[in-house]
Amino acid sequence: MDFGLLFHSFGNVMLDWHVLLAIFIGVTGGITIGALPGLTATMGVALLVPFTFGRPPVESLAMLLGIYCGGMYGGSISAILIRTPGTPAAAATVLEGYPMGQRGEAGRALAMALFASFSGGMIGALIMTFLSPFVAGVALEFSYVEYFALALFGLSVIISISGTSIIKGIMSGFFGLLLSTIGMDPISGFPRFVFGRMDLMEGPAFIPTLIGLFAVAELFSNIEKMGVTEKIQARIGQFLPSWADIKTSANNIGKSSLIGTIVGAIPGAGGDIAAFVSYAEAKRSSKHPEKFGTGLIEGVAATESANNACSGGAMIPLLSLGVPGDAVTAVLLGAFIIQGLQPGPLLYKEHLDVVYNVFASMIVANVAMLIVGAVGVRFFAKVIGIQKEILIPIIFVLSLVGSYAMRQNVFDVYLTIGFGVVGYIMQRYHYPLSPILLALILGPMAESNLRRSMVVSGGDWHILFSRPIAVGLMVLAVAFLAASVWNHKRIERRLTEAKLIAAEGASA
């Protein structure tokens, strides 16, 4: 570690107003893109890459990293306010964030999301700066076998996000797994359940499905309540979380940031998985797991710190191995190459200044995110006070535009509306929706990597138990599953006790 050069890089980033401006523009743009359903950080970065042709590398990379950090946080805003994860990584934030908003605590949730995003992003960036060489090796250890095991481990989280009924959660999960088999077979290329429609050849597109199940379904049930429920009395004056909230969440933020950084460093596993895993871990280790799902601040802290820590984690294999850690860093790889820089071991040898500038930009971008976010929180939170009659049509239009914008395909708009109806019905009968998302993310990962393992081994199942990391992950999956079933029993017991006490109180 060359500390002199690192300080010099911070100077490059913070003292050059061009670079500083680029970061602030990037962060502000990123938060906006992230908060809009259908527009993700990946798209934001991809669309801006061409504008970096012919601009100095420090400035272009600073802006792209700003979008990356801002976009990750931005997703939580719409998740909390309108139950629409702005990006897939914010899907887990809906679980606790939205109930908080509905209770009138949108300001508190947004402030925590911002603080957790900042802390997570900072921890991820610091690990990237100081421990890259140690973490980088993990990325290459992961073969198809490990990815299959990782997907299994991820799926073991389903019970934790199932809400009140395990059976209904598992049903939702399997429904999601079934959906994920639609489209081209990942190994033979044979189209499955596409009914001759080209639009289905890659399965139901993820973002339109996400918008349908969450945003549109919620709009339908809001229409039902229109004129019946009163306007939410929101306290929105807050822009940083209270000391008490920070104290209750500090432990979770630390743990989730570590989980996020490691998951981020594994190529192909991103913020969405990290957030769900952190949520489940927060619930598992909580003293009052029965309160999860009702709007608990620790939940928001866990998911938001995890997905933002992922950004730093995903940069590690990109910079040190030339292997992108997630979708955004895959686009960033292109941006580097256009600048004439090839990420990887050579970048460290020949352009250490660029590497350190990236470190510095990432850390400064997180600070910029905190500043821009803190200014914005008051304004964002006002959304919740808007009358339903006005808000519902606006969100509906935004949802449809967002689902169309992803790949300019009208079919995706129909898909969104269709999943809106499905989501509405499921919600009405208390089937949790998050397991579907988790299954849609992890189903293809599990299937393709299991099949890849079978191709390589020639159909010999022993390959699955031949590698230590894979076995470790599978054992962890079983342990987690057992723990969450046991935990669930405990939750049910406590809830019945609470009911009994309430009933006694009423009769007495």
Partner: protein
């Protein structure tokens, strides 16, 4: 008097409105370019760089629209079905010739009006740096001695690099296992991690890892050596007569007026010749391979026949 002036005025206005389109030169509004692949990917970045240069010669802005999905099927279909007024151009890629034999799309290259070929990149057989073979022949010998041990990663089932690897195995008579990934990048990562024996993807996709000393190229499936790695010999030089490329080009829907097509062809050709675009190709180590509309048409027909024949031979085509 007043009424007459008004009538004359209206008449003049009407004539003006109807006459204007005939007189104005194409293009008089922004042009849309369809990319069948995701934003930020290789095709997308190339198309955006090219469009940025072409704007100068067309005098209008160009918007790149990513209509992705179905292994390129959705985007190609959108190009084919676009209004043939020249305001929608599309980037067509190798998959246009490999999807029809698989029975995945109900149309083929004949549904397009080809504008120009932009680049063509050969497959390069790439292995780990510390692998016990240094030439194609040693690789083949090793594969024959250790059957069922060679795993070759590709970018998708039936994709260009799946076909390239199949063709190589077929011509050298070795047994290999094809492992499809979701794109070339994860396959290259798996190779670097030692979870595969080889990949047969293009040079831009392995360049970084080769330069970093993690991978080495055993041969390129081209008639000439690569500019960036002149020390690597071709397959033909090593006694295996295989040349196999992926390509990208621009196409129009059928029925675009000839003068409009000429203007587009001319502007995009000029865009390819600008120093900035040449610099871009150099940095991304893409291999420029310009062909004009007529040559590109002939190339597409020949390439279709070749690809279909190879896919049938490998059992990748639908019977």
């Amino acid at each position: 008097m007043k009424r007459r002036t008004m009538l004359v005025g209206i008449a003049a206005l009407v004539t003006g409105v109807f006459a204007a389109p005939a007189m104005a030169a194409f293009p008089e509004k922004p042009i849309t370019v369809i990319c069948p692949w995701s934003p930020g990917g290789g095709t997308d970045v190339l198309l955006r760089a090219l469009s940025k240069e072409a704007e100068k010669f067309l005098g209008q802005s160009i918007t790149v629209v990513n209509q992705t999905g179905g292994a390129g099927a959705i985007g190609h279909n959108a190009i084919r079905a676009a209004r043939p007024d020249g305001y929608t151009v599309g980037m067509i890629t190798f998959e246009l010739n490999s999807l029809p034999p698989q029975g995945l799309i109900p149309f083929d290259y004949k549904a397009f009006d080809p504008l120009m070929r932009v680049n063509a990149d050969p497959a390069a057989l790439t292995v780990k740096k510390d692998a016990p073979y240094n030439t194609l022949k040693e690789f083949v010998d090793y594969a024959k001695k250790n059957p069922s041990e060679i795993t070759i990663g590709n970018s998708a089932p039936g994709s260009v690099w799946h076909i390239a690897a199949g063709l190589m195995a077929d011509k050298t008579g070795i047994q290999v296992k094809h492992v499809p990934f979701d794109g070339a990048a994860p396959a290259v990562t798996a190779l670097v991690g030692g979870h595969l024996k080889a990949v047969a993807v293009s040079i831009p996709e392995v360049r970084g890892q080769v330069q970093a000393g993690n991978l080495k190229i055993l041969g390129v499936m081209d008639t000439e050596r690569d500019a960036l790695f002149p020390a690597v010999s071709t397959f033909k030089e090593q006694g295996v007569d295989v040349a196999f490329h992926t390509w990208r080009g621009l196409g129009l829907p059928k029925g675009v007026p000839a003068d409009v097509k000429a203007k587009l062809a001319d502007s995009f050709k000029k865009a390819m010749e600008t120093p900035d675009f040449k610099e871009f190709l150099k940095k991304t180590s893409l291999n420029p391979a310009y062909l004009g509309p007529d040559d590109f048409s002939k190339f597409l027909a020949q390439n279709y026949k070749d690809v279909e024949a190879v896919m049938k031979g490998l059992g990748l085509a639908k019977k």
